[in-house]
């Protein structure tokens, strides 16, 4: 036990694989003639071998599931995001809404007065726009905040926003005739869809070009 401390230090340097060649040779030479140090070194190696021998244990089978269940609830937008990835049209729709909602809503709310597309032979009676019998209206007819009665003919589409097409019967069976599409738009949602159709293409392009747009779209999807 009179041995210099350095031999213990060498042993640890050896175990850390950081011993110099010369020191390693010196340690080896010393161990071959010193029983105490030799035993010390063997005990070190034995204890490390024992520690390393403990079988590697695996986490319980349900470990991952339990971790996943314990995670803070996924932010809603993430679930929506995953869902939107599979519904690109709705993604475009929701993006559209984020961009347009503000202005559309204000438009929807502020326009209370009856308005109608300008065609000379339309007749306005209170809040009802009439296509008189025998008259042929050229072009699309759009009525806002009022009703449309078709007794004659519209040579184009008929759209009624926040109102209805009267006659008591469905469009084509009605007295008059509309050559194009006929549509009533009453809910805000439909109103938005109506606007969307014209801009959908731009929206999709915009969406594809703009990463950050995805984030915006999510907000709206949650809102929905």
């Amino acid at each position: 036990m009179k041995c210099p401390e350095k031999y213990i230090a060498y042993m640890h340097e050896y175990l850390d694989e950081e011993i110099s060649k010369e020191d390693a040779l010196e340690l080896k030479a010393h161990l071959s003639k010193c029983g105490d140090c030799h035993r010390h070194f063997q005990e070190l190696e034995k204890s490390l071998a024992l520690v390393k021998s403990v079988a590697h244990i695996a986490a319980p089978g349900d470990f991952t599931m339990r971790v996943m269940n314990a995670l803070p609830k996924e932010k809603k937008k993430v679930g929506v995001q995953r869902w939107l990835r599979h519904h690109p049209i709705l993604t475009a729709a929701s993006l559209f809404m984020v961009l347009m909602m503000g202005s559309l809503l204000s438009t929807w709310n502020t326009e209370k007065a009856l308005s109608v597309s300008k065609q000379p032979n339309l007749v306005i009676d209170h809040d009802t726009v009439i296509v008189p019998e025998g008259a042929v209206v050229k072009g699309d007819v759009v009525v806002r905040n009022g009703s449309l009665r078709v007794e004659g003919q519209i040579d184009g589409n008929a759209t009624v926003i926040n109102g209805e097409i009267v006659n008591g019967e469905k469009y084509m069976a009605s007295a008059g005739q509309v050559t194009g599409e006929v549509k009533e738009i009453n809910a805000i949602f439909e109103w938005i869809w109506y606007h969307m159709k014209n801009t959908a293409k731009e929206v999709v392009n915009f969406f594809e070009d703009n990463e950050s747009a995805e984030e915006q779209s999510l907000g709206v999807a949650v809102f929905l």
């Binding site: 640890h12 175990l15 850390d16 010390h40 005990e43 070190l44 034995k46 204890s47 490390l48 024992l50 520690v51 390393k52 021998s53 403990v54 079988a55 590697h56 244990i57 695996a58 986490a59 319980p60 470990f63 991952t64 339990r66 971790v67 996943m68 314990a70 995670l71 803070p72 996924e74 932010k75 937008k77 993430v78 995001q81 995953r82």
Partner: protein, 187 residues
Amino acid sequence: MDAIIKKRIKQVLKGDQNAYAEIVELYKDKVYQLCYRMLGNRHEAEDMAQEAFIRAYVNIASFNIELKFSTWLYRIATNLCIDRIRKKKPDYYLDAEVSGTDGLTMYSQIPSDTRLPEDEVEKMELQDIIQREISNLPEKYRSVIVLKYIEELSLNEISEILDMPLGTVKTRIHRGREALRHQLRNV
């Protein structure tokens, strides 16, 4: 594997929670093992390992994607275990020298009734004996020994995980090995 982990982390950062399951799968055994060897108790080990993964998830935005994820994860797990050990029993003073005992530490003065009787020891599986002796190491030696000899990490990684200078890691490993030598030489 690092590429997969990076990809999954990016997905998690974008909010895709499911991508995290794969990360847990890849590291669960190592983290669980680390906690078990530190705490010596399967139930506690599972709690701590789960907590480590939950914390890593919650704080994933603060993880530097250019660094090694396992190092960061092990750091979280090791710190949790160390906190747990310190709360459980104040063994951080066990290796403080007791005045007037000439280098004798509190550790060697632990009353013998906390040790198992000889015949009980013989009935224990060798594995249990080794684990018991790992658990008997003072916490500051235990963490370096477990990281080095169970998790087989490099001294540099251990230094990062424990946020400790390399020299300190080496000193602790040396002392840890000497403590193990004392505890295990008669096994």
